[in-house]
């Protein structure tokens, strides 16, 4: 990934730190930095290295305090000199300019804060409003971000508020090296940038598996009884109530919640039914493993039932014993050490860097409903002996559509995060997909699946590359959400591709399988359909003289 830093201070102090953190999550980076205070020259000159490099990501780290220092004057309100206001105007112009002229890059902009060395003390808010002026700049930044889809705002101000300027800055460096971040400051700044890069790359966990006793409530339900467990909207029991509320927020973001607890189901059910302060209800949990089995087995089964990788799970349990067991036997599962004191649960959960989003799609909001529906589908499945009868009973409707502005974000999301049904695992970025959209050679489609239980939303993407000289079309990527695996939808999609190809007098369909540690579920998609392997991992199907019949349990709609 190519990252460019543009800054009006010496941001290069952070590079080693950030590069190492990215390496830890297997992201190789190439950093381009035109030097201290070069950002305006770079942005306003279309011939500059910035436009030449076309980085995937640009960090605009502009500390406005450098323009305010020595420019505070108490003759006007806001108490800032004319020239300083002009410089700030130019910053905003440059942000909008780079957004428009490098539409293929994603631009991360730090929001603004007031350095306490410039603070007006008791005059602030009584006669002068410097702080409020900074706020108005941040509001303007939000407006720019609402009207430019390639900009993301970094809430630097919140990070600085949380840790405090005295803990983050070192003014010896400010005067000697044009950067005021001390070691802790660089570490926190680097973590903040990393969170945003993870959100951009779609690196996040999908599921939180929680224990019950001393995790969702205080005490042990089997011993203490429903009236004695700690859970209330007041006092110490409120810490559990608040913790449940934060978990519910994650649920609303589309993070799957499950239970993994050693307990008797009937005792737990009583809490769900009768306890007035249980925020989380059975419907919030996609899977409930409430039994006396080993938690390792329960987590393996949870992953299997949800069709997600075991490494997508975060396991929260107050018991060190259980945590160590899971860490040892399932090293892929993320097992953070929950603090000993439950009043720290909320801040602890908030600081976990596992669930970074920039924008929630409709699909994220709907995801947990879908898992609930899947549960009902599974139940229905058991009443059929023949899978075909079952599939027929689902009354599936598949709608296929070429990419447009509305489906774009979800397509990017699927490309970046789908691991299992992903034939080539090519992680195309916003920029690359935009480029493909503008080329005649490429066609990008997404599809939705509806059935009698409900709408699954956009669950798949396939990218076709037309090789007209060879009168062939290549399936460059074929990606499907794990939610709909096992319903032969892949075959319906291949039928569509064949139909399209025939209409353009194409004779051969080519495809490729690039095996990864996780994409087992799609390895045989071409083989099972009748493709022939002509080279290792390369498949082809001659279509001109053959007829292919779509199974009767699909309705295929192309929009």
């Amino acid at each position: 990934m190519k990252i460019c830093f543009l800054s009006n201070y010496s941001i290069e102090f952070i590079f080693d730190n950030l590069r190492n953190k990215l390496k830890d999550i297997n992201v190789e980076t190439e950093i381009y930095y035109p030097g201290y205070n070069q950002f305006l020259q770079q942005i306003f000159n279309p011939q500059s290295e910035l436009y030449n490099q076309k980085p995937d990501v640009i960090f605009l780290s502009i500390d406005v305090n450098y323009y305010l220092q020595n420019q505070i004057q108490l003759k006007s309100n806001p108490p800032i000199s004319e020239s300083s206001l002009n410089q700030i105007e130019q910053i905003f112009n440059s942000i909008e300019f780079v957004c428009k002229n490098l539409s293929s890059s994603t631009i991360f902009v730090d929001n603004f804060y007031l350095d306490s060395n410039l603070d007006l003390g008791t005059l602030e808010y009584n006669q002068f409003e410097l702080d409020k002026f900074i706020e108005s700049m941040n509001k303007r930044l939000f407006e720019i971000s609402s009207s430019n889809k390639n900009i993301r705002v970094i809430n630097l101000k919140r990070m600085i508020n949380k840790h405090g300027q005295k803990n983050l800055f070192d003014f010896r460096l400010f005067y000697l090296a044009k950067s005021k971040w001390n070691k802790k400051g660089l570490e926190e700044l680097s973590n903040l940038y990393l969170s945003h890069l993870k959100a951009y790359l779609g690196i996040r966990k999908k599921c939180i598996a929680v224990d019950l006793d001393n995790t969702l409530w205080g005490g042990i339900i089997g011993q203490d009884g429903i009236e004695n467990i700690m859970l209330s909207n007041d006092g110490a029991g409120k810490s559990f109530y608040d913790f449940q509320n934060v978990l519910r927020n994650y649920y609303q973001q589309g993070i799957i919640l499950t239970i993994c607890s050693k307990n008797s189901e009937n005792v737990v059910n009583e809490v769900f039914e009768k306890h007035p302060y249980m925020v989380l209800k059975p419907e919030h949990f996609a899977v409930m493993k409430i039994n006396w089995n080993n938690k390792v087995e329960n987590l393996i089964e949870t992953a299997k039932e949800l069709n997600i990788g075991i490494d997508s799970i975060v396991f929260l349990d107050d018991s060190k014993f259980e945590r160590e067991l899971v860490k040892k036997q399932l090293p892929e599962v993320e097992v953070p050490d929950l603090p000993d004191d439950p009043t720290q649960y909320v801040s602890f959960l908030k600081e976990l860097d596992y669930f970074n989003f920039h924008k929630l799609t409709d699909d994220d909001f709907k995801r947990n409903e879908t898992y609930k529906l899947n549960f009902e589908r599974k139940k229905a499945e058991t009443s059929f002996t023949d899978i075909k009868d079952y599939l027929r009973s689902l009354e599936m409707k598949i709608e296929i559509k070429e990419i447009d502005d509305f489906t774009f974000p979800r397509i990017i999301q699927l490309i970046q995060k789908t691991n299992q049904f992903n034939t080539t695992t090519k992680r195309y970025t916003d920029a690359e997909i935009t480029k493909m959209r503008n080329s005649n050679e490429w066609k990008i489609y997404s599809f939705t699946v509806k059935d009698k239980f409900g709408d699954n939303g956009i669950v798949g993407v396939f990218i076709l590359k037309y090789l007209l000289v060879k009168s062939a079309v290549e399936i460059d990527s074929f990606i499907m959400s794990c939610r709909v695996i096992g319903r032969e939808i892949e075959n319906a999609i291949l039928h569509f591709i064949i139909k399209k190809a025939k209409a353009s007098r194409i004779k051969t369909i080519c495809a490729e399988i690039i095996p990864t540690a996780k994409n087992e579920p799609c390895r045989n998609v071409y083989k099972d359909f009748g493709f022939e392997e002509f080279e290792n991992g390369k498949w082809k199907l001659e279509i001109d003289d053959k007829n292919f019949a779509l199974p009767d349990y699909f309705e295929l709609i192309s929009l």
């Binding site: 102090f13 070192d170 010896r172 000697l176 090296a177 070691k183």
Partner: protein
């Protein structure tokens, strides 16, 4: 004499396997020791030795020998 503690710390910051430091060694003689690394080394020394330099002290350091002397002075003073 340059202490092993200081030597190892500098090697670690600069990502070097080995380097022979003498009291007269200048930053520019050591691969990768630029003005940026200068500050990360200073900050690491402060953290490692539990000391704090004044700005003028940082400016007065001309070679590794000066750095070692300053560290010794500060550590003993504590």
């Amino acid at each position: 004499m340059i202490s092993d503690k200081l030597k190892n710390l500098i090697l670690k910051e600069l990502n070097l396997q080995e380097f022979e430091f003498s009291e007269d060694t200048l930053a520019k003689d050591v691969p990768g020791w630029d003005s940026l690394k200068n500050f990360t080394i200073i900050l690491s020394i402060e953290e490692e030795f539990g000391i704090k330099f004044l700005t003028e002290e940082i400016l007065s350091i001309k070679n590794v020998g000066d750095l070692q002397k300053l560290i010794d002075l500060k550590v003993n003073h504590n």
